[in-house]
C-alpha cells in the first residue's frame, strides 16, 4: 500500500490557527473584539450566547495562541485583541466572509439577497457596506480619488494586494466640500489609501489611512452612529439628508 506514504511537508501548521476560527463562539467573539477594545468577559459571553465558564475556556485558548490579552480591573477582566495580530486576523476573517457570499452575488443581484444586511457597516476601522461603496463612487466622480478600472476577473487580484486606488492632490478639498467641514488627511507613511473588498458587497471601498479618517469624519459629524453590538452602523436622519445631497440613497 502506498496510500500511507508520508511526504515531509514544509508547510506552516496554519490549520492550528484555523481551528481557532472554526468555532462559532470564538469566531463571533473575535469578530466583536476586532471592533471593540476592552470588552468584559461577561459581555462577550452574552453576545455569543454561552455561559461565562465556556467563554473563559475559549479565552484561555485564544490567550495561549497570543491572539488576545486579558487585563483585570476591579472585578472585571477586559479582553483585547493583541495589536500585532489584529491586521492579519481581520484580513483572514474578511476573506473568509467574501467566500461566504455566493460568488454570483456581485452588483446585479446583491441588493436583493443581501437586503437584510445593514446598509452601512465598519470593516474594523473604516467604513464599509453599501455606504462605503457608494461614498467611494462619489469620491471618484468628484476627482478626489482615482481608480484604475480593474476587471473583476483579473487574476491580478490573487494576492489581494494589488490596489487600484490613488488619492489626488485635491482629495482634502473634495472631502471638505462634500461634508461642509474642514478635512485634512493625517500624515503618515505609505500611500494612505487601500482598496478593501468586503464580503457583503464584493465591491471595493476605501481603507487605509484615508478610510479611517473618512469614518472619523462622518461619525464626528453625527451622520452615522456605531451600534452597541456588531459592526453595523446606523445612519442618522441628518446622515440620510446629507448623503442624499451627495446622490446616495439611504432608504
Amino acid at each position: 500500500m502506498s496510500t500511507t506514504r508520508t511526504v515531509p511537508v514544509v508547510v506552516p501548521p496554519f490549520w492550528e490557527l484555523a481551528k481557532l476560527l472554526a468555532d462559532p463562539t470564538r469566531a463571533k467573539a473575535l469578530d466583536l473584539l476586532l471592533d471593540r477594545s476592552r470588552t468584559p468577559v461577561s459581555y462577550l459571553a452574552g453576545y455569543c450566547g454561552v455561559s461565562a465558564q465556556t467563554m473563559t475556556g475559549h479565552l484561555a485558548v485564544l490567550r495561549d495562541a497570543g491572539w488576545v490579552t486579558v487585563r483585570r480591573s476591579g472585578r472585571y477582566r477586559y479582553v483585547e485583541i493583541e495589536p500585532s495580530v489584529h491586521a492579519d486576523i481581520a484580513a483572514v476573517i474578511e476573506h473568509l466572509g467574501a467566500l461566504c457570499a455566493p460568488p454570483e452575488a456581485s452588483s446585479l443581484n446583491s441588493h436583493r439577497e443581501l437586503a437584510a444586511l445593514p446598509r452601512a457597516r465598519t470593516c474594523y476601522d473604516h467604513l464599509a457596506g453599501r455606504l462605503g461603496v457608494d461614498l467611494l463612487r462619489v469620491l471618484i466622480d468628484r476627482r478626489g480619488i482615482e481608480c484604475e478600472d480593474i476587471d473583476p476577473d483579473d487574476p491580478d487580484r490573487v494576492t489581494g494586494a494589488d490596489c487600484p486606488l490613488h488619492l489626488t492632490p485635491e482629495v482634502d478639498d473634495v472631502v471638505a466640500e462634500m461634508f461642509g467641514s474642514r478635512f485634512e488627511l493625517p500624515p503618515g507613511r505609505g500611500r494612505g489609501i487601500g482598496a478593501c473588498m468586503d464580503w457583503s458587497q464584493r465591491e471595493i471601498h476605501a481603507s487605509g489611512r484615508f478610510g479611517r479618517s473618512l469614518l472619523t469624519v462622518v461619525e464626528g459629524l453625527g451622520l452615522v452612529r456605531r451600534r452597541p453590538a456588531g459592526r453595523s452602523l446606523e445612519i442618522t436622519p441628518l446622515g440620510v439628508e446629507r448623503f442624499s445631497g451627495l446622490g446616495i440613497d439611504c432608504t
Copy 2:
C-alpha cells in the same frame, strides 16, 4: 442569569469555512491544490498521509462547499481548485501562515530561526521566500520598481490592500538586463504589481501580473525548478551563478 442572553448577530458564518481549513489533511491538500491543478485523488492521499477513503471524504466536503471540482478521466479523478475562490483561499492561507510565524521574526532574526525553510518558494503563482524578497530589493535598487517606504508598524496595513510598489517605465529594460533576455510585461488591467507579505519572511515581495511574469522568466531560463511536491523551489547551479551576479547570495 443574563449569561444566556442571545443577541442576533449579523455576521456571515465564516467559521463554517474556517472548519474546512481546520483539519491538517484538508489544509495540506488545499495548499497543494492551490499550486497544482489536476491532481489525482490518490496522489493527494499519499501527500497528506491518509488512506484513499479518507481523502474521498474530505474531497466530498470541499466539493459541497464549492471549493474544488472533480473531473474524471479514465479511472482517475482529477481534483482542481474552483478558480473563482482560488484568490480568497490563497489569501486566507497566506495570512494564517503569517500568524504562524512568531511576530518577532522580522528581518533581524528571521534568518536564523527560519533557516530550515526553503530559500525560494512560490506563493501559488509568483516568487516568494528569501529569493522573492531579495529580487525585489535588486529591482528597487536598479529603479525598475519604486517602493514607498512603509513603516512596518503602520496601521495602514490593516486590510493588506495598501500597496507601496510601483512599476517604473524602465522596468522591462531592467529585468531584461538582469537576466540577459528579452522581457515585456504582458498587458492587462490594473497596476500590474502588488505587494505580498509571505509567512516565511514577513517582508514583502512582488506579486500581481509582474510577480507572475518574473516567476515565468526565472523558471524559463532554468534558474529555478519547481519541486515535485510542496511549494519550495530548487535554485539550479546556473541560478546560483546568475543570482550571485546580481548580488544575491544563495548559499
